[in-house]
Each structure stands twice: as structure tokens, then as C-alpha cells.
């Protein structure tokens, strides 16, 4: 051991005083995550506000942690939640179990389930961490209408799916807004 070695340690400390601080003051300062961060899930809507989820349970099937519970139900002409025959009647994600792997969003056949960047998924009550459909549904953008309601875009299903986003502009959905994800701020 050399005679200056004990002082070297102080040298490190002293040098660090003039470097940029890496510590994040988390609760006070809120930093956005990386754009593709696997955060909370979101159930998206069609441009007229109908749900994209068809209750197929493929997300639940894909989930390695068994964190998702889905039950489908039948759309009727009077009470329509999604285009087509079937909609997700009950949708729950248990964030105590979710490992954020994203297999569920890969499994989703309608791009209904996506993940947003929101990561504050902690609580002191287990029950509050089981998110239900109301918690997970994407917010209504301008021009969207809360289901149940009939399919509003175009004359037939072909129009609805193929030209839906364009037809939605006419209903006041803002330009440049994707249909799959709403703005992050809307949630936070």
C-alpha cells in the first residue's frame, strides 16, 4: 500500500462533486421513460369510440404469469360495445402478477391491448392493483362516443375497418392522432 493511497479515495469523492448528478428526485421530479418502456396496459378504441377488444382471451392465454382475466359476451343490435359479434365483457389485469413481458400485446389480434409508458404501479392495497376494464380503457378523444352505440363510421363493415380513421377525421378526431394510442399525458 502506497502512502497516498488513503487520499485517493478522497480524490474520487472530490472529483464527483463537480460531475452532473445522476440521482433522480423521483417523487418530486417525474421523468418520462424510454418510448418503448413496458408500462401499464391500455385497451384501445376504434375512432368512433367502440372498443377494439373482442374478448377473445388470447392475451390471457399468452400470459406466462396468469395475470389477465377476460370474459367475453355477445353484442346485440341494441347494445353494441365493439364492432362484430363479441366484446370483452369483463377485463382484469392483476398488476401484482404482471411481469411486464408484453406477450399479451403481441397476442392481441385486434391491437386492442397495447402498453403505455406509465409505470407508477404500486399501492398499499392488493385489491387496488387488480385493474378492471374501466381503469384500462383508453380515454375518449374528441369525436369519440362512449359505448354502447352502433358502428358510426361508414355504411358497412368494409368501410368501418378500411376507411374508419379517415371517416373519423370528419367526426372531429384530431389530425395526427393515432387511433391505437392516445397521448401519454391524457393518462398521466
Amino acid at each position: 500500500m502506497g502512502m497516498f493511497d488513503p487520499l485517493k479515495g478522497f480524490g474520487v469523492t472530490f472529483a464527483t462533486m463537480f460531475k452532473k448528478v445522476v440521482t433522480e428526485q423521483y417523487p418530486e421530479d417525474f421523468y418520462p421513460s424510454a418510448p418503448r418502456w413496458h408500462g401499464r396496459h391500455q385497451l384501445n378504441r376504434h375512432p368512433d369510440g367502440l372498443e377494439k377488444c373482442v374478448g377473445c382471451e388470447l392475451c390471457a392465454w399468452a400470459c406466462p404469469a396468469d395475470a389477465i382475466f377476460v370474459e367475453g359476451a355477445d353484442n346485440t343490435e341494441e347494445e353494441r360495445y365493439s364492432p362484430g359479434e363479441r366484446y370483452g365483457f369483463d377485463y382484469q389485469i392483476n398488476y401484482l402478477r404482471c411481469i411486464g413481458c408484453g406477450l399479451c400485446i403481441e397476442a392481441c389480434p385486434t391491437r386492442s391491448l397495447t402498453m403505455v409508458n406509465f409505470y407508477e404501479l404500486a399501492d398499499d392495497d392488493r385489491r387496488k392493483l387488480i385493474y378492471t376494464k374501466e381503469d384500462l380503457m383508453a380515454p375518449l378523444l374528441p369525436g369519440m362516443e362512449e359505448p354502447p352505440h352502433p358502428m358510426r363510421l361508414g355504411e358497412n363493415e368494409q368501410d368501418y375497418y378500411v376507411q374508419g380513421p379517415e371517416l373519423a377525421r370528419g367526426r372531429g378526431v384530431p389530425e395526427g392522432e393515432t387511433v391505437e394510442t392516445s397521448k401519454e399525458e391524457a393518462i398521466q
Partner: protein, 827 residues
């Protein structure tokens, strides 16, 4: 040393052939289909239309294999589901032949051309043969780029079966099932070419298929649910199960049907403590792979909102209020002890109990209430019936008469028994026997019912009530039937309606003695056969020994650990006598299981008895006409929530174990055991297992079984004349009606047969009834008005369903064979 070369030639047994499958030599029975031979070797050839219980069709072409005969390869791949094995055949499946593999891939690609990408919203997704086989044997991409053919999305072909024609691969399993097995060809292939589709007469107009245009018959079959189960794609789906869950959510548990005495094996699928669906189980000895719609769809009664889950006692104001088990049991025990010490208490168990539960009732009556007043028959009954059951039914096993013996029989005679309505699987087996083996089926009834037609049967028409005379007249008037019944393998099936016809059991016994034919009794309810065996009747002990037999009583006293001489020696009262005694005050209390007064011979008298008797203890699942009058109601478990055993009509033991655990519901045997403890007796029936082992240990088999001198001397009663202006009523219950286990099933109820009043045209004319109008049958007690349909009934006889919509016995106070007034013109 030289070793003789081993003889590698394998012997081909008689009736077998030798062929080569995928390079492997195999010996197969003559007539076996190639697809099965390959399956025995462990090679699964993909298939859709092939089903082992249906005739081969070769409709889907998915099972193509390469075949070589006599060294010459066939020019094209052959369908292995229609080709039978032959000697010297060389077969190459997809395993060893690229040609077969490519052919299968091609067929799969063709089948998928018009198949929509519905998997995420399709109920079959996850258990779909098309999905699975497309993954295993299909190409990874499709070359089809054009627009798929579309049809309007699901159309309902009955209230419980939905048809999605886009998904259909035209395998014709459903149409073949309906035509061959069920005999209800309401569903068939329509149109041609790309428009070819499955449909009913209602959907036949494809250009306007959303609306039901023509007035054809919908898919109204008691067996339509089977088509949903065997559909290899999601084309036929169940309206009740629509979008409820996915196969991976479900826990499947084998179970036994509680509805009729057929004893079907079922598979109950549940999710999160709730039964989602039931499917037919696979039991070749009993139901093969089929079940009736009632067994498949009627299970929601157990999850009904009004289910009784806590004990209830009647308070001072006369209201039933929830109480603790301790309080309710105390109240019941005190009242029953008091009744026992004065006039006694009677036990009506109802016909839906498991053997264990029925046995607990038996012990409860005999040990705790010290009485033989117990009867399981919650329907019209007679002393004659009881004698017949004691002499010819109790203790019989499938060795006597079974489903297999029906199939082997040269002739079957159904007496006062409507197989399709009363025991649908017996009906399917009779149809199979008649269709495949040429069994002659004879029916002694009133009209050419669908059972008669579909079993290719012969009707021996008689007046309602005249069945006994008809059976006695066989020797004289139906010589061919008499000869047919004299053969070794003939069988006579008697339904429980026979109890309503005086002298019929005597006539059947005489017939059996004369011709040597075997007689089997087919009750309507699942628990009746088991309750009889368990001794839940006034004259028999568990196992079938008569109550009056002192040595049998002594044996039972020993095995039950009772003091000698404590068992009551007097035969007890039957259901009707118990109710009469209760009404007149000769009985102080009634213990009632699952009994609906509307099924009893005199519903009005039964209600009066329940209202007048000092104390009523009801063991029930849901509020009923009995709980209305009950002083204490104890909740009991439905079959899903308990373990138990049914005996089917053959006497076959059908054990099942609990499906939904942890619901806290207790079976009857446990409730009675605890109640008995409150009354200072031990029944040893805490669990179904304990009750079963106690039952097996204690049954006392009758020494006199098989002979009953009383029966022979009973003459067939001549039918009394019908007074002027009246007609004779024939009636029985239809399979799907307003029974108490069919509540909360709107989809099932929609497939019930129409409630109509049937009569011949001559009868109608005589009584001023016109076709298409409604007519009224009445007694001094009430009247029932139904639409009229003309049928081949004997003159001055009308037929009406017994409980759809209303109970005939409740409204008219009359049953099968009674005289009723008929008038037309009512609206």
C-alpha cells in the same frame, strides 16, 4: 450348430387381413377402415367428416393417403375414412409418403379458402380440430388472394344452436348425426357449388337468409346439442355457452347426468366456481358419445338466484326466516321427536336422490322415526307397482337387461313407455338397434309418436288405461309379436306410467312368464332405481328384502347396531296414503325431499296435506310448493356440489365425484345424519363414501326375489266405459317441459315440443273441434285449452302433454286413462 431360420410369417386369424401401413405389417379385422388401422398403429391421419359412430361419408377429403393394391398403386390418393382394409394392401400415410402429405396440405388449403379468420371470436377456438390440424398438417401460407365468400353471421337454427355458415367445411357430421343417430333430419345440405351450405327449411332461402321466410320446421330435436359437440369447426355453436369461456379457462370434471334414468356420463366444465357447460362423456356401455339436450343444457337451476343457501325456520308471524344450522336442526329434531312419540312422521324422498342420500332417508325413517312410512315415488303409483318392483326389479344388474342387450335383442316391446321423452338414451339405442341390427321394436301406446316412427317401430294402439288388456291380448291378436318375444334375446321395457294402469304389471308379468322374455323397468327420474335399491319404499329394506321378513329385519338390526326387535315390522304407507294420513291428522309430521306436488297423483290433496300437517321439514335447493308450507327448510347440495352414485335403469352403478368444491353445500345424507344425531341416533352417513360402504355392508337380499304369486292372479282391469260426451285422456311428460330442474334455461325451453291436444279427425268431428283451432278438455275441477293437432289416436281419446305448460294433474285432477270432457271452439 445350425439354427433353423425363424418363421417370420405371422398367422392371419379368421376374418382378418394382412396389409402394410407405412412399411409396417399389420393384421386388421375385415371391414376396418384404413383410418382406424392407421390410428391403431399410432398414426393419426387428419380428418373432419370421419366419426366412429357415424356412417362413413368421405365428405371432407382431408384423410387422403396413398394406396397400392396387388402391387399396382392407385392413380390418385384415396380417402382413408371410406376405404376398408384388404389383403395385401400397401398404404402410405403422410408419414411415409410425400404424395399423401401434399394432398392433405392441398385439401387443407382449399378448406381454409373460405374459412373466415374468426378464431379470436369463435367459441371453438382452442379446441378446434380445424385449427389444430391446420397447424399440424396445413401449409404455412395460403395462395388465395381473392375475396372470401361470406354469409350473414350466425343464424339461429333453433333457440339453442347457432349456425355460422362461413366457418362450415361441409363435413356433414351434423346432418349425418341428425339423420342417422337422432332421426331428426331437420338440418341438411342446401344449394350447390360455392353456395353449398348447411341449413334448415327456415334458412333455405339464401338470398334473404337473415329473415326467416318460409314456414319450415326449425331444428327441433332433443339431441341437437350433440351436433355442436361433434362439429369439427365452429360452425355450430351453443347459444347458452356463447362467448362464456375458452377451453384453457375450464376445469373439466367427469359427472353423471341427474335428469333421467339413462345414466349418461357427462363432462362438466367449470370456471371460477361456476358451471359453464356440460358435454356428453364417452361411455360406450351407456350413452356412447351422445347426450340429450336436457342433460347437456339444463344445469343452471343450481346457480339460480333464489337458491336456498341457509337453513330457514318459520317464525311466529308465519314468515320463513334464515336461521343457524343449530337452531333449525333443534327445531326440526324437537318437532320430529314429538311426532314420533304421538302419531308418527312420514318421509317423502322424491325421485332425484343419489343412492347414498336415499339410503340416509331410509335409515332416518327406520331408525330415527321408527317407521316404514317412506316412499320415493313422487308421481302416480300403486301397490301393484310396488309388488312388481319387489319381485322383478330390485337387485337386478346390467346382466339382466342392459343397453347392450337392447342392441342385441331381436325384438323389444315398449309398454306404457315413450322412450324419446322418458329416457332419450334408451331411445337412441333402440333406434340404433333397429337401424343397424334390424331389431323389431313394438310399442303399446296410443299413437304413432316420434319414438315409434324413429325406431322403425310397430304400434299396437290401445285406449289409455287399456294397456293391460292389450298386453294380455298379445297371444291371441299379435301372433308375430308373441313369437318374437319368445326368442331368447327379446326384451320388454315398462315405463313408470304403467303404475297408472290397473293390472298392467300383472299382465306384463304373465307375458314374461309365458314367453320367457326379460322385463326391465325404465323409470323417468334418475334417483328412482337407486332409491328402490336403498329401501326408500314402505315394504322393502335396503337390498330388497321385505319389511315383513323377520330374519331380514334381524340381519339389518345387527348390521345397523340396533337392539333386537326395534325395527318396525309393519309395512308402511305409500306416498298417497301418507299424504291422506297427514291431511287427516293420522301423521303429525312430514319430511319431504325434492318433491313437486304437481307431479303427485292428486296435487290439490297433496297441498292440503302439506298445509294441514303439524310439521313439515323440507330438504330443498330452491323455494318450492313444499317450502311454502314448510316449518323448517334445510338447504341441500345439487349434484355438482356433492359426491354420490346413481343407479341407472339397468341397475348399473354410476358413481360421480364432486365438481364444485368448497361451496359449503351439504348433501342430504350429511344433513340427515346431523339431524339424527340431534335426535339421539347415529346413521353413519356423514359422507357419501361412508353412506355407500354402510349401504353395501347392510343390504339384505330377498330370499323370495323373482317370484310373486300375487301378481299372476291380478286380472287386467277392463277399461270403464266413457260416459257420453267425454273422451279418454292419454298423457305423459315431454322431455323438455316446465320441470323444476329446467328453470333459467330460455334457450333450452325454446326447443321444447309444442304443447298441443292430439286427437283423431273423427273424434274432433264428433265433439265439434276444427283443425287449427283450440280445444278445451275439462273436468269438474278445471279446464285446459290447447291448440289441436290431428293424430292417429283411437276414437274418443285425446292426448295432452302432462306438464307443458301446466300440470294436467293440477288443473284437471286427472291423469292417464281418465275421462275428460272435450269441447271445441274455445280461444
Amino acid at each position: 450348430m445350425t439354427i433353423a431360420p425363424e418363421n417370420t410369417e405371422t398367422e392371419v386369424p379368421e376374418g382378418h387381413v394382412k396389409l402394410v401401413v407405412d412399411g409396417e405389417e399389420v393384421i386388421a379385422p375385415e371391414g376396418e377402415l384404413l383410418i382406424r388401422t392407421a390410428e391403431r398403429l399410432g398414426t393419426v391421419i387428419p380428418r373432419f367428416c370421419d366419426h366412429p359412430l357415424l356412417d362413413p361419408a368421405g365428405a371432407c377429403r382431408q384423410c387422403l393417403v396413398e394406396v397400392e393394391m396387388n402391387g399396382r398403386p392407385m392413380p390418385k390418393p384415396q380417402a382413408s375414412c371410406t376405404m376398408t382394409v384388404a389383403d395385401g394392401m400397401v398404404v402410405k400415410t403422410q408419414k411415409s409418403s410425400r404424395v399423401a402429405e401434399k394432398a392433405q396440405e392441398g385439401v387443407m388449403e382449399l378448406l381454409l379458402i373460405n374459412h373466415p379468420l374468426d378464431c379470436p371470436i369463435c367459441d371453438k377456438g382452442g379446441e378446434c380440430p380445424l385449427q389444430n390440424q391446420a397447424m399440424a398438417h396445413g401449409r404455412s401460407t395460403s395462395r388465395f388472394v381473392d375475396t372470401k365468400r361470406t354469409f350473414p353471421k350466425p343464424i339461429s337454427i333453433s333457440t339453442q344452436v347457432l349456425l355460422d355458415r362461413e366457418r362450415c367445411v361441409l363435413c356433414q357430421r351434423c346432418t349425418r348425426f341428425s339423420d342417422q343417430i337422432a332421426g331428426d333430419p331437420f338440418i341438411d345440405l342446401l344449394e350447390r357449388g360455392v353456395h353449398q351450405q348447411i341449413g334448415t327449411a327456415e334458412t333455405a332461402d339464401i338470398h334473404n337468409s337473415a329473415s326467416h321466410t318460409s314456414s319450415g320446421t326449425p331444428f327441433q330435436s332433443y339431441f341437437s346439442g350433440n351436433t355442436i359437440q361433434i362439429c369439427p369447426v365452429g360452425a355450430l355453436t351453443s347459444a347458452a355457452y356463447r362467448f362464456r369461456s375458452r377451453p384453457f379457462d375450464l376445469v373439466s370434471s367427469p359427472s353423471v347426468c341427474e335428469h333421467c334414468s339413462s345414466g349418461c356420463a357427462l363432462r362438466t366444465d367449470f370456471r371460477r366456481g361456476k358451471v359453464m357447460r356440460r358435454l356428453a362423456g364417452d361411455d360406450p356401455d351407456v350413452n356412447e358419445e351422445w347426450s340429450c339436450d336436457k342433460g347437456r343444457f339444463a344445469f343452471r337451476y343450481a346457480a339460480a338466484k333464489d337458491r336456498i343457501r341457509k337453513p330457514m325456520v318459520r317464525d311466529e308471524s308465519g314468515e320463513l326466516v334464515e336461521a343457524s344450522w343449530t337452531e333449525a336442526l333443534r327445531r326440526a329434531a324437537d318437532a320430529l321427536v314429538a311426532a314420533r312419540e304421538s302419531n308418527g312422521a312420514g318421509v317423502l324422498t322424491g325421485g332425484r336422490l343419489t343412492v347414498e342420500d336415499a339410503y340416509a332417508y331410509t335409515k332416518f325413517a327406520r331408525i330415527t322415526l321408527r317407521s316404514n312410512d317412506i316412499d320415493f315415488r313422487a308421481r302416480p303409483h300403486s301397490a301393484e307397482e310396488l309388488d312388481f318392483l319387489a319381485s322383478s326389479v330390485v337387485g337386478t344388474t346390467p346382466e339382466h337387461v342392459s343397453y347392450a342387450s337392447l342392441e342385441k335383442a331381436s325384438a323389444v316391446l315398449c309398454v306404457a313407455f315413450e322412450p324419446e321423452d322418458e329416457s332419450p338414451i334408451v331411445f337412441l339405442r333402440l333406434r340404433k338397434a333397429a337401424r343397424d341390427k334390424g331389431t323389431k321394436v313394438f310399442h303399446i301406446g296410443q299413437w304413432t309418436t316420434s319414438s315409434v316412427r324413429k325406431t322403425f317401430g310397430e304400434l299396437l294402439a290401445c285406449e289409455p288405461g287399456g294397456e293391460a288388456a292389450a298386453v294380455d291380448g298379445i297371444a291371441e291378436h299379435a301372433k308375430d309379436l308373441d313369437a318374437a318375444l319368445s326368442s331368447d334375446d327379446a326384451v320388454v321395457l315398462v315405463g313408470d306410467r304403467a303404475a297408472e294402469v290397473p293390472g298392467l304389471f300383472g299382465a306384463v308379468t304373465r307375458l314374461a312368464e309365458r314367453t320367457g322374455t326379460r322385463v326391465a323397468w325404465v323409470p323417468r327420474r334418475a334417483g328412482e332405481r337407486g332409491a328402490l335399491e336403498a329401501g326408500a319404499v314402505p315394504t322393502l329394506l335396503p337390498g330388497g328384502a321385505p319389511v315383513s321378513d323377520a330374519s331380514a329385519r334381524a340381519t339389518l338390526e345387527t348390521s345397523w347396531g340396533l337392539d333386537s326387535g326395534t325395527m318396525p315390522a309393519e309395512p308402511g304407507r305409500d306416498t298417497a296414503a301418507m299424504l291422506a294420513a297427514a291431511a287427516s291428522g293420522e301423521l303429525d309430521a312430514l319430511v319431504v325431499g325434492g318433491v313437486d306436488p304437481d307431479d303427485l297423483p292428486d296435487p290439490a290433496a297433496a297441498r292440503e296435506a302439506l298445509a294441514n300437517v303439524g310439521f313439515v321439514l323440507s330438504l330443498e335447493m330452491r323455494p318450492s310448493a313444499v317450502t311454502e308450507h314448510a316449518d323448517v327448510v334445510l338447504p341441500i347440495a345439487p349434484v355438482d356440489e356433492k359426491t354420490g352414485t346413481f343407479l341407472d335403469w339397468e341397475g348399473r352403478v354410476r358413481p360421480f365425484s364432486i365438481t364444485l368444491e368448497g361451496t359449503g353445500a351439504l348433501p342430504d345424507c350429511r344433513v340427515l345424519d346431523t339431524l339424527a344425531v340431534e335426535m339421539d341416533a347415529d346413521l353413519f352417513t356423514q359422507t357419501a363414501q361412508a353412506a355407500w360402504s354402510d349401504f353395501s355392508r347392510s343390504r339384505v337380499v330377498s330370499a323370495h326375489q323373482g317370484s310373486n304369486p300375487d301378481q299372476h292372479s291380478r286380472p287386467a282391469a277392463s277399461t270403464p266405459d266413457t260416459p257420453d260426451g267425454t273422451v279418454r285422456l292419454a298423457t305423459w311428460r315431454q322431455l323438455i317441459d316446465n320441470g323444476s330442474l329446467q328453470v333459467e334455461e330460455p334457450h333450452l325451453a325454446g326447443t321444447a315440443r309444442d304443447a298441443v291436444l292430439r286427437m283423431s279427425a273423427a273424434t274432433a268431428e264428433r265433439h265439434g273441434v276444427t283443425r287449427g283451432e283450440r280445444a278445451t278438455i275439462s273436468t269438474e275441477r278445471g279446464a285446459l285449452t290447447l291448440p289441436v293437432e290431428f293424430t292417429d289416436l283411437p276414437d274418443d281419446v285425446v292426448w295432452a302433454p302432462a306438464r307443458s305448460p301446466e300440470s294436467i294433474r293440477s288443473v284437471l285432477g286427472a291423469g292417464h286413462g281418465a275421462s275428460v270432457a272435450l269441447s271445441g271452439g274455445a280461444r
